[in-house]
Amino acid sequence: MSGPAPTAAPDHGAASAPRTVIEIEGVTKVYDLGETRINALAGIDLVIRRGDYLAVMGPSGSGKSTLMNLLGCLDTPSAGKYLFCGEDVAAMDDDDLARIRNQEIGFIFQSFNLLPRATSLRNVELPLVYAGFSPDERAERAFAALESVGLADRADHRPNELSGGQRQRVAIARALVNNPSIILADEPTGNLDSRTSEEIMGLFDELHDRGNTVILVTHEPDIAAHARRLIRLRDGLVEFDGDHRDAAPSA
């Protein structure tokens, strides 16, 4: 892929001393469903540093989605410590969480989650709209982000005029446009065929090479294999955390 990379990776200082982005200690999440209480996360410790390329795996019900929602500041933990760039997320109100989501986190979803009636450019602009950028600056940055995922010529197309892979690229451009601290992808290739999946994963590899922090949530080992680090969850606990080549083959 050619073209400038306007969404340059955040400045992570000396590569030899990676700074901590996320620090989680003893985090639990309990869903109270009236009669039953579900311990989705039973006490997680996790440290994510700038430049990490991380895959979160685990069978369904293991707490993957809950962890992803917590990491993405869409939800707050029931107990435990969660520091995002040193800030205590558990103590944040809705406005602070929205600001973190807007400026520090780039979400990528399995089902793309684009606004169906808006053009690619408009979709990519949306985080900048909430950040309060001027229309000119917005358009310029959004266009550059589209360019960096190779979709400059699809800026005026609506999601239903794009292929699945192209839609996911638009979503990636949207995630990149605010120069986030982490890119959080939930089953990003779940709705794509294997060839397109490989293209998208190539894009993630490239984002990581440019210095971005990437977190993939997936249940597919060959997707997870792109990451450098693997977290495997089971029953709301971290079962494995390390280089994915050392991981025991998942059942």
Binding site: L74, N102, F107, N113, P127, A131, P135, R174, N178
Partner: protein, 408 residues
């Protein structure tokens, strides 16, 4: 989020659902239309009354059996005896000498007038009266002559015809001296009245003035009541003479001292007051209809906004996941309902002004734009939009981002 972006996003959301937005707006449009239309029409009528209400001549009041204008309520005049010509004559003899203009009038409606092979529609009014009628009722002679004292004394079969009759019977000839047949009786035309125009659909140009004495012979009915018009010499003496006249009329009608007046006294001023009361009643009616329609429309807006919030749960989740705060979502949905309401209101103002001015045109009143009511309408619509949009918008803002992203 910048205000311009907020406005753009709200407008886009409404545009995505044009039919639904339009139908929702319709309620507001009807509510605003009813108040703006009625108010425009009323001010047109008001202008027309102020400039055109001159049923009677200057310093004239009229005594008659029935009220000139009736607004609902029990009919006060029911069961009152008619004013007979004898009572009228007795009244005139009781009035002081300085009041020299006292006019009697008896009307007979719905007659057909014929001249040779032409005839009018049966909608003419024969008025049995005397020479004072032109003064007391604000008519002017176009040409020919007025009724004379002699005509009344001798009961001559002569007639002064209104503009309409002249138009229908004598389009090409001079009517003076021509014989016409009024409901079987023959009269000679001696004069023609100037055109006066109509007042609230009440015709004034369809009259034929004949001597009251002759009228009694030709058209008399036991239910015809005499109207008595009295002209005061000047404005200063008007009130005093009016009081005197009421006393004289009570005597002439032989009323007991404690009994209520069984007749009405009105003047141009009291007519104006009566019309003002009607206008106030109609205005209040318009207001009530408008208020009911607006509340109903507000509920419609709330309903459609709640549907919209549910339908767009996923969109709300997406927006939240990329950084929309609760207040951003709240503002977005609130602005949509305010827009819906205001657009409906603007359509209502346009429609109301159009219909109101159509009424104005019928009354020959210049075009008018009810600025005051337009501003009131816009402000009211804004309040409705906020009031009924607040709960749906609040609901949208409170949605949980995780749940709403999962919403299908």
């Amino acid at each position: 989020m910048r205000p311009a972006d907020l406005i753009r996003s709200a407008a886009a959301a409404l545009g995505n659902n044009k039919l639904r937005s339009g139908l929702t707006m319709l309620g507001i449009t009807i509510g605003v239309f009813s108040v703006v239309g009625v108010m425009t029409a009323l001010s047109a009528i008001g202008t027309s009354i102020d400039s055109g209400l001159s049923v009677l001549g200057t310093h004239v009041f009229q005594i008659q059996r029935n009220p000139a204008v009736q607004i609902g309520g029990p009919q006060r005049s029911r069961g009152r005896p008619v004013i007979t010509i004898t009572e009228a004559r007795r009244f005139a003899s009781l009035m002081p000498a300085e009041v020299h203009t006292i006019n009697f009038e008896v009307q007979h409606w719905g007659v057909l007038v014929r001249h040779q092979d032409r005839e009018t529609a049966p909608r003419m009014a024969v008025v049995g009266t005397d020479a004072h009628y032109l003064n007391t009722h604000n008519f002017r002679l176009d040409y020919g002559r007025n009724l004379l004292a002699d005509d009344v004394e001798l009961g001559r079969p002569v007639a002064v015809i209104g503009y309409d009759i002249q138009q229908e019977l004598f389009p090409f000839e001079n009517p003076i001296g021509a014989w016409i047949t009024i409901g079987g009786a023959r009269y000679r035309v001696v004069g023609v009245l100037e055109e006066k125009g109509s007042l609230f659909g009440g015709q004034q140009d369809n009259r034929i003035l004949v001597p009251i004495t002759r009228f009694m012979g030709d058209f008399s009915n036991h239910w015809q009541s005499v109207n008595i018009a009295v002209q005061a010499p000047d404005a200063e003496s008007f009130e005093e003479i009016r009081e005197t006249a009421i006393g004289a009329m009570r005597l002439a009608r032989r009323l007991d001292p404690g009994a209520e007046n069984n007749f009405e006294v009105f003047s141009n001023d009291s007519l104006r007051d009566a019309f003002a009361r009607i206008a106030a009643a109609v205005g209040a009616g318009g207001f009530l209809i408008s208020a009911i329609a607006l509340v109903a429309a507000g509920i419609g807006i709330m309903n459609i906004m709640l549907v919209s919030v549910t339908e767009r749960t996923r969109e709300i989740g997406i927006r939240k996941s990329i950084g929309a705060r609760r207040k951003d979502i709240l503002r977005q949905f609130l602005l949509e309902s305010v827009y819906l309401s205001q657009l409906g209101g603007l359509a209502g103002i346009a429609l109301g002004v159009l219909v109101g001015n159509f009424v104005a045109a019928q009354m020959n009143v210049p075009m008018l734009f009810p600025w005051f009511w337009a501003v009131v309408a816009v402000v009211t619509c804004t309040i409705i939009g906020v009031t009924f949009g607040l709960y749906p918008a609040w609901k949208a803002a409170r949605l949980d981002p995780v749940d709403s992203l999962r919403f299908e």
